[in-house]
Amino acid sequence: MIRLLMILGTILVLGAGAGYVLTRPRPLPPPAVEGLVGDAAAGERIFWAGGCASCHAAPKAEGDARLVLSGGQRLVSPFGTFVVPNISPDALDGIGGWSLLDFATALKRGVAPSGENLYPAFPYTTYTRMEMQDIADLKAFMDTLPPSGRVDEPHDLPFPFNLRVALGPWKALNLDPDWVIANPPSEAATKGRYLVEALGHCAECHTPRNAIGGLDLGRWMGGAPNPAGKGRIPNITPAALDWSEEDIAYYLKTGFKPDFDSAGGEMADVVANMAHLSDDDLAAIAAYVKALPPVANGGS
């Protein structure tokens, strides 16, 4: 009996070891960033399209204060509360000390310079689809922003969600650089797909999640419970949203809905980001949204 337990224990340990080896954090190889030179002016567009300020600006920041990426917002989720880190260019308390390779590894692989897995509250399942040049441009722009000396606080996560090693298998299931919408019907919708699926991370709220917090790709943008508790995030597929492309683009630019009620809640921050994009980019996002496969209401 003891022998049997020992054998079982050995299998378990070996299995866990093999699982770790198969799913351990994998930084990008150095050649990935070779020859890349960032353009800060181009990076500003990536910054707003990527929605970085929505989470990384200080709580309640408005206007230019949204460019100070001090962190400090508390994101409530079913897995615990995440405290958003300082990603300002401060060398000590922010990410000013990160190389381009470190930065690209975080965005595309969800791995910190320390080699630890990052939590997917940071939407690297979206950013993994970014072009390397856009990553270089984004870093060049973020390096121009004001530094903040705010010191990071630990996340407030219960066991087992406080084990970063468990994110390895999670990533194996959920970190996929393939496009969700394989064949957008137009050039505009294809451009919109990049803005949404690689940068805007709309799906993080508008798509429901499975039991382990991965996005249910079969109900892409079909609406979901609000992770912060109250209410639901709406279904924005054509099954539920009948706004025209112009209406969608104008809403993202100004916050005004077709009936001229205006955005509130988390979408107010999204509009504050999107208002910095060109009309062409907003039209592209609208074309993509209109081309989404319809998802009927009523799922989880």
């Binding site: 309640k60 408005e62 609000n226 109250k230 209410g231 639901r232 709406p234 112009e246 209406d247 104008y250 630019k253 100004t254 916050g255 005004f256 009936d259 001229f260 009620d261 205006s262 955005a263 509130g264 809640g265 988390e266 979408m267 107010a268 921050d269 509009v271 504050a272 208002a275």
Partner: protein, 153 residues
């Protein structure tokens, strides 16, 4: 003696907000919803011009912007009595936070008033002048809705 005791009890009870009978503020809520609808109708005149849905008309644009300025001048206190949040009653999305930071709430209304005045100043100058000013008004609307209105269910 009995009377004064009753008076005293009533006075004590009225000092305890939890025990005081809830006031019916449904008329105040209807009035502030009407105020929001008035703003939406006038913003719509301008917004549909900015979107290109309706042709630009300087007189209509100026009249709509002037209405938005007029609405901004309505004193807000009567429409937002304490005890009329979505925690107190049905059919309102007004968050209790309004009364926890009432000065900021009023400051956001004033910011919207300034955006409406800036809009009126350019509403007659063509759609290219109007559109960015309308965008600023939108910023003021969302800034307040973000903090103080319950998101849709």
């Amino acid at each position: 003696m009995r009377l004064s005791q009753a008076t005293l009890s009533a006075a004590v009870i009225s000092l305890l907000p939890g025990l005081a009978p809830a006031q019916d503020y449904s008329f105040n809520v209807a009035a502030r919803k009407g105020e929001m609808d008035l703003m939406a109708i006038n913003t719509g005149v301008l917004g549909n011009m900015a979107k290109g849905k309706t042709p630009y008309d300087a007189d209509a644009a100026t009249a709509a912007a002037a209405n938005l300025v007029t609405i901004s001048k309505i004193t807000q206190g009567l429409l937002w009595p304490e005890g009329s949040s979505n925690a107190d009653m049905q059919d309102t999305k007004a968050l209790p936070k309004i009364w926890e930071s009432y000065d900021d709430f009023l400051a956001k209304w004033d910011a919207k008033a300034k955006a409406a005045e800036a809009l009126l100043a350019v509403a007659g100058d063509g759609v290219d002048a109007l559109a960015p000013a309308l965008g600023k008004l939108g910023e003021a609307c969302t800034a307040c809705h973000k903090e103080y209105r319950q998101p849709d269910k």
